[in-house]
Amino acid sequence: MSEPETVEILLVEDNPNDAELTQRALKKTNLGVGLATVRDGAEALEYLFSNRPKPKVIFLDLKLPKIDGIEVLRRVRADDRLRSVPVVVLTSSQEERDISQCYKLGVNSYIVKPVEFDEFYKAVGDLATYWLVLNKSPL
């Protein structure tokens, strides 16, 4: 796990290509985003339930090793200290069931990863701008 001094985005992503693409797209926004990346759901929970400051937003993949994204979301929403942290699911799943379940569990937003490289790149930039510049996080 790479970890800058101030973490604004916690990226939970097991696919190294997607993780790298996301990191590159964030660098390009010039937002100077503090990004921490974890590779599975267990690591994500360990990070979030440690004494580290809360990130401004969590970008969460659904299909993850060890503990899946749905379960990470469920535990975040069930915890008093973490409940208010914005969670954006960023996944390739377009399945009605996944979408519906995430909203039932209180996801803030659900984004389907664009398949095409350029679009994925742009979407990540838009996402970061929305959640770090426009949106006000509870801190």
Binding site: R83, P86, Q94, I99, Y103, S109, I111, N135, K136, P138
Partner: protein, 173 residues
């Protein structure tokens, strides 16, 4: 009757700027509403519609002026009893300080009901108070946007909002 009034008000709001297609606004059927704007300040309504117009989203907006009307729309009661509750908007843009029923209470009721809790709700407010921010997140708000004071920043923010929730975000319906 009340619906006709609401639609007339909507037309009036849209007509305030000639660049809007009034025909488009009249034609928007309630089941085609994608953005529900809950805002009592007519200036902010006009600005918001203008910004959404730029993204070609204005024809999908329905405007209500207080929290009671917002609840009637969302739960398909009262003046909106002929609506189907399953025809959820893609996003509700919700002011905090509203006549009759305030924004916090509207949010609480949307998120407390299994039929409506999945509807994305974005607070669009001038309040920067930490307490409002935290309270709304704890109630399950999807996003909290402080209205920029500056005119062009306001238009820009609403445009981005419209694109994000109208196009980028995926809803389960």
């Amino acid at each position: 009757m009340a619906v006709r009034e609401a639609q007339a008000r909507q037309r009036a709001a849209v007509k305030t700027d000639r660049s809007y297609s009034t025909k488009g606004a009249i034609m928007t059927a309630l089941e085609d509403v994608e953005i529900l704007l809950v805002e009592d300040n007519p200036n902010d309504v006009e600005l918001t519609l203008r910004a959404l117009q730029k993204q070609n989203l204005a024809s999908k907006v329905f405007v209500v002026k207080d929290g009671a009307e917002a609840l009637e729309f969302i739960f398909a009661t009262g003046a909106f009893a002929h609506r189907k509750i399953e025809h959820c908007p893609k996003v509700v843009l919700l002011d905090l300080k509203l006549p009759k029923v305030d924004g916090i209470e509207v949010l609480r009721r949307i998120k407390a009901d299994q039929r409506t809790k999945h509807i994305p709700v974005v607070m669009l407010t001038s309040s920067q108070e930490e307490r409002d921010v935290l309270d709304t997140y704890n109630l399950g708000v999807n996003s909290y946007i402080v209205k920029p004071v500056d005119f062009s920043n306001f238009v820009h923010a609403v445009s981005e909002l419209g694109i994000y929730w109208g196009i980028l975000n995926k809803v389960p319906y």
